[in-house]
Symmetry: C2
Subunit: 315 residues, 2 copies
C-alpha cells in the first residue's frame, strides 16, 4: 500500500439516538430564505433532537475485528481526530492505516449532530472555548504567556497554528452530560461491540455508557479523561482492558494536578475490579512535550502507532 | 474494484474562511464540565467564527482532474450527501466511485463548521426545519397528507423513513447569506479550481461565489436551486457549463412554481451570456416521482450516474 494512501474500502454515516419533540404556540412569520423566495415560516411542529452523528471508514485491509469508535472531548466534535492545526493527517487516518474500522462520533449538540434551538429545551446557555482557555487548559503554555504565544519549553503542540486550532471549537451545553451518555449508548448499539477511544470530557460520557452497555464496549483508550464512572458503576464495565494516556506538564495547573489524581484513583478502582488498566504518563516513558491535544502534537503518528499496537496485542 | 467498495485512497478535512472576534465584559462564573472538575469559566477572549468545514475523499482511481465540491441546502449540512434515510450510500460515495475527488462542505453555521453563540453577533434567532415543513417544501406529499404520512403517488423519496430524515436538520440563520458566500469563496481557494454542485439554498450562495471567483469554478450542477446570481453577476461566471436538475411535482405548491420560473429565467440569462446551460426536468426525460431531495430518492444512484456522465463528458 502506498504510504500516502489510507486504503479506505468503504465510508459513510448514520444518525443514532435522541428523541422527537413537538413545538407549538410559536407565531408564524414571513421570512426570506434567499433573495428569491418570501416564505411563511411556521416554527411549530415535529423535530428530532439529541441524536449523534456517526461517520465510518472501513479499511481495505482490516487487521482488527472490532471497530474503533472515537469520541471527542468537550467543546469539540469529530473533526479533532481528522487533522492537526499544521495540516497533517489525524488519528482517524492513522488508525485506518493500521487496519482499524474507525467510527467517528459527533455526540449530542456537537458538529453534525445538530442542536436544539428551542427555548427551555436545554435550560442553560451554551458556552464555547476561547483561544485563551484552550492555551491554558490544554497545556500549550502558561496562562501568562498567551499574549506572547510562548509555549512551554519543548512543547510538541503546533502552537504557532493556534489560530487554526480554534476554528475547531463548537458550542456546548453543560446540562447535557446525562443525555450524551444516553445517546452514546444508542450510537454503540448501531456500531456493535467495539473498542472505545475517548478524549477529555468524552471520558466521563464514555465510561458511564460503557458501564451501562458492558456487552458493547470490549476495550477502552482514555486520553486524559476529565471524568469517570459514577460510584458503583465500575464493576459493571465490560471492557477487559483500559489504557490511560497522559501528556506532559501535568503539574502546570491545579486543574490537571487534580484530574491526574482522580485518574489514578479511577485506574486503581478498575484494577480492584479485575480489569487490566495500563497507565501511560508519556514523560515517564521518555516521551516529553505532549499537550492535552496529543493527537495533534508533532509526534501524533508515533503515539497512534503505540496505542494501535497496544490494542492489536489484545483484540 | 469490488462494487461494494468506494476505493478511497485518501481522506481528511480542513477549515477555511471566517474571522476572529474578541468577546469582553462578560462575567466569569464557576461551572462543572464533568462531575469531577469545578472550574472558573471565563466567556471572554478570542474566538474564530464563520468558518467552513471541508472534508475530502480522493478516489484511488480518479477519472476527473477537477475536484467536485458539494454544497448543502438550507437547514442541512454535508451529511445530506452521505446517506439516504433508508440507509443507502449517498452521492458522496456515488461520485467517488465514478472517479471524482469529492469535497463536502459544511458552510458557515452548519454542522462541523460550528456557530457563534455570542449575543448580537448574528442578530436574528436561528430557525430549524420541522418534519411538517420538510414534508411540504421538499415535495414528499401534500401538506394535508402529513399526518397520514401519505406521499404523492409514485413518490421515490423513502417517506416511510421521514423520522430518520429529520435527524439531519441543523439550525440556520437567515442573516448569514452574504457571509456564506464569502466563506464559500475561502473554501474554494483551498480546494482550487473545481466543479461545484449545490442543492436548493446552496444555489444562491454558490452562484454568487462563482461570479466572484470565475477562476475557481469551472462548471456547476445546481439541484433545484432556490436562489441565483444577483443582477449583473451573470457575465462574470467562469463556469463553462451549468446543469440544472429538477424532480417531479413542481406544480404542487406556489413556492415551487415560482422557483421553477425563476430558474428558467436564470438559465436563459446564462445562455445569453454564452454559457452552456442544460435544463433537466426529470419527468420530461421520463423519470417520474423525484422529490426535492432527489439525492436520497430510490433512484439516487441512477441520477448520480447521469450527472457524473454529463460532467465527465465536459471536464
Amino acid at each position: 500500500m502506498n504510504p500516502k494512501t489510507h486504503g479506505v474500502a468503504r465510508f459513510g454515516s448514520f444518525y443514532a439516538g435522541g428523541r422527537q419533540i413537538r413545538i407549538s404556540g410559536q407565531p408564524v412569520r414571513t421570512i426570506s430564505f434567499t433573495q428569491t423566495a418570501p416564505y411563511e415560516y411556521d416554527p411549530n411542529g415535529l423535530f428530532h433532537i439529541e441524536q449523534a452523528y456517526v461517520q465510518y471508514f472501513i479499511p481495505a485491509e482490516p487487521r482488527c475485528a472490532l471497530p474503533l469508535a472515537m469520541l471527542h472531548g468537550g467543546g469539540m466534535c469529530g473533526t479533532m481526530w481528522e487533522h492537526t492545526p499544521d495540516g497533517r493527517d489525524g488519528w482517524a487516518q492513522a488508525f485506518v492505516a493500521q487496519g482499524f474500522p474507525v467510527y467517528i462520533i459527533d455526540n449530542v449538540e456537537r458538529g453534525r449532530a445538530g442542536w436544539a434551538p428551542f427555548p427551555g429545551v436545554w435550560p442553560d446557555a451554551p458556552i464555547v472555548r476561547s483561544a485563551e482557555e484552550a492555551w491554558s487548559l490544554f497545556r500549550f503554555g502558561a496562562a501568562g504567556d498567551f499574549q506572547a504565544r510562548r509555549p512551554f519549553e519543548g512543547q510538541r503542540f503546533p502552537a504557532e497554528h493556534l489560530d487554526t486550532f480554534i476554528q475547531t471549537a463548537v458550542p456546548r451545553w453543560l446540562s447535557n452530560n446525562d443525555t450524551a451518555a444516553d445517546t452514546l449508548c444508542a450510537a454503540l448499539e448501531r456500531i456493535g461491540p467495539c473498542l472505545l477511544m475517548t478524549h477529555s470530557h468524552g471520558g466521563e460520557v464514555a465510561f458511564r455508557a460503557a458501564a451501562r452497555r458492558p456487552d458493547l464496549v470490549r476495550g477502552m483508550v482514555a486520553i486524559e479523561p476529565s471524568g469517570f464512572c459514577r460510584p458503583g458503576e465500575v464493576p459493571a464495565l465490560g471492557a477487559s482492558a483500559c489504557l490511560f494516556v497522559y501528556g506532559d506538564y501535568l503539574d502546570a495547573t491545579p486543574t490537571w494536578q487534580m484530574l491526574t489524581r482522580r485518574g489514578i484513583e479511577f485506574r486503581d478502582s478498575l484494577l480492584r475490579a479485575g480489569i487490566e488498566a495500563d497507565w501511560w504518563e508519556l514523560p515517564r516513558m521518555g516521551i516529553r512535550g505532549n499537550s492535552h491535544m496529543l493527537m495533534m502534537d508533532d509526534n501524533s503518528d508515533e503515539l497512534a502507532q503505540r496505542v494501535g499496537e497496544w490494542l492489536l496485542q489484545r483484540y
